[in-house]
Symmetry: C2
Amino acid sequence: MNGKSSKPASPSLPGGLSVRDAQACILGKTAPLGAEDIALERALGRVLAADVRADRDLPPHDISAMDGYAVCAADTADAPARLKIVDDIRAGDTPRVTLQRGQCARIMTGAPVPAGADTVVRVEDTRPGPDDAVDILIPVRAATDIRRRAENMRRGEIVLAAGTGIGPGTVGALATAKQATVAVHRQPRVAILSSGNELEALREPFDPGKIPDANTYALMAQVQAQGVEPDLLGIARDDPAELSGFLERGLGYDILLVSGGASVGVHDHVRPTLAALGVAMHFWRVEMRPGHPVAFGTRGRCFVFCLPGNPVSSMVCFEQFVLPALRALAGHRRLFRRTLPARLTHAVESRPGRIEFMRVTLARDASGIYEAASAGSQSSGDMLSMARADGLLIVPSASKGLAAGETARVQLLETGAYQDEAELGDEPCSQKDVHRASLHDTIGP
Amino acid sequence: MNGKSSKPASPSLPGGLSVRDAQACILGKTAPLGAEDIALERALGRVLAADVRADRDLPPHDISAMDGYAVCAADTADAPARLKIVDDIRAGDTPRVTLQRGQCARIMTGAPVPAGADTVVRVEDTRPGPDDAVDILIPVRAATDIRRRAENMRRGEIVLAAGTGIGPGTVGALATAKQATVAVHRQPRVAILSSGNELEALREPFDPGKIPDANTYALMAQVQAQGVEPDLLGIARDDPAELSGFLERGLGYDILLVSGGASVGVHDHVRPTLAALGVAMHFWRVEMRPGHPVAFGTRGRCFVFCLPGNPVSSMVCFEQFVLPALRALAGHRRLFRRTLPARLTHAVESRPGRIEFMRVTLARDASGIYEAASAGSQSSGDMLSMARADGLLIVPSASKGLAAGETARVQLLETGAYQDEAELGDEPCSQKDVHRASLHDTIGP
């Protein structure tokens, strides 16, 4: 005997929660963090903590939507008509001339429509005349090709509401509203701790008896992908005092992720240590595969996730539990990965009772429908198939398996956000020269 | 007259390219940039520039896949069988005892299987015996619940190939292969220049006659979303010397994005200035809506994109042309946004001849199929509908419009990457309490 008194762990709860109930348990305890002011240059991916109002009308005047001539519509009623050009107005100019009947102004897209004009004639509907004149070739109705003052934003109106997630379009809208500084929800501070005697740190020399610490870095990258730079606490060895010190430090964060070198080791030491540190545990097991031994607790405002020691299981648990919690704390309303339906290229077996997340790659069939295929070994030890996966295909917990050709939902991972083909609706053939008709012809509702 | 000799611009080419041909023109000139070494902590979103090989076998030994007892299978043939526990092996331990017949070792998940054992019995198939003994309740075949040495990685084998995009799973695999430093393709350096007298800079005071510079920041955020921090050159006024200075500075980057305050102003000044600076222009117009006046040129290794002055048009052009070019330079193989099919909730009119990109939001119908609805005004001046959009719905260039209920492709924008519901295949009802069956029951292949 090695002199240790460990015994195989037994679960504290007879069964485990469903993924949905575990998510509900976690999300029921989250609320968006407080607000902070940041520069617009740093706002991408954050969430607005306050309404944003327009500081002006946009457009600020009636402006031309085209390059052409600002005219009085009545002057074109008997077109062709020759009008005298009395001004030349570009975007940013202030018109200096009030048009009289028989006059017009050359005008550029975005330029203010001068007084006396009530419509715009496109340049292609005109012909240069002699001297400073132009021939208008067709009659034009009033208010043609004019963008009205305040059509896009009206001074004082709310243009972006608190709770809006900030994507590139939002950044553009914030710049339009002149928000150089933006009030956003604070992002959670995240600490990552690995544990286990068998782990070799990334920058430690090679030890043939040890296993590289992949968990710390896989979780780091998952957190980074949410725009948060986590603190890496390192590796806690199987020593209660050392572990306690690490955990106490981690409990100072908004989110503490603890992954064990081996699930049992984690539960043996981490559980009593967390209890001694005052962490209330809310669940210890979830009925899912991979990822069964995943636990969640809180102390004050710190959310503690005990993730499986196995890196693939730990990543899958992050996706289901940590990601939505992290997004909820950051103020997001959309907490879950986008899913899409995909057709399985092969049969999948499953034991009912646990929802299964299968690493899959995505491709298109000849008619443009997604096909999902296993990304390789589904062994929870195979990090390479996780690296290859475009998404996680969901085999529902009640399912005994899926047949080849059946359709299931796939959660899109980071790696599934881009594809090989532009898919512009005009594809004459796929990359493999398979005939493929215009998509909206072949996919019916 | 304002004393300027400008005239409405006429296109240099009679028509424009298709989006597909314009993409092909651009991508035909791209090649991945050279390699650089970076820390694994900074590798997310980059692309491997060299193959990565395993530095060891993983697992390093035959290890247990479960918590239980390492035994000789022959000892369990007449189960129940009482075996003497002679060792207690955890992950990271080195077994010290060679098992003799009638002996076993307590073993944890991930721990090495000791010599003399050829299988593992799960703890739930055992019962504690008297003293240091355990009762094995069932016969177990050899090689059960053992993960074989090198099953996941074999020393010296390529585990990740050059060209692999680095997502969180890849970071985990790189950590597993102990790659603290990673050779990746350099990312393009990007400069952003706005132009136009009518533009008011973000931190300039309010001027009622001007329009806020939204382009610089919307483009900045689109570039940032690709993991690249662009340099913002500022706003060039309609002055050839000033513009020339700005452009010359921008031509020192890998990618120069120039957007004009008004399309005509840009083409009037930018075009001859770029020509004078030695930039070869490859196209000036693309048959698309919004975004018609988009141009592309090169000088040496610099890619120059002249984007429309209208911020929405400029963002849509970025998505179609700059994004794939930027990704190609960074070494990515997947250059285009993920698309998904969605059913239109309303009819859309379109003039054939130009592909149309419509800002849409996505929601689910009762059976889990995506429905796309206009995100608001499709006026190219409406940045707010761009901020709201989950994606760009593609109306193919040959289409005269789409009917309500028709299915079309939607390019997923950043803002469309997440959704409201977890969608785990067990949804009893939608958020609106509409009955919804298990997805794989209702969506046929």
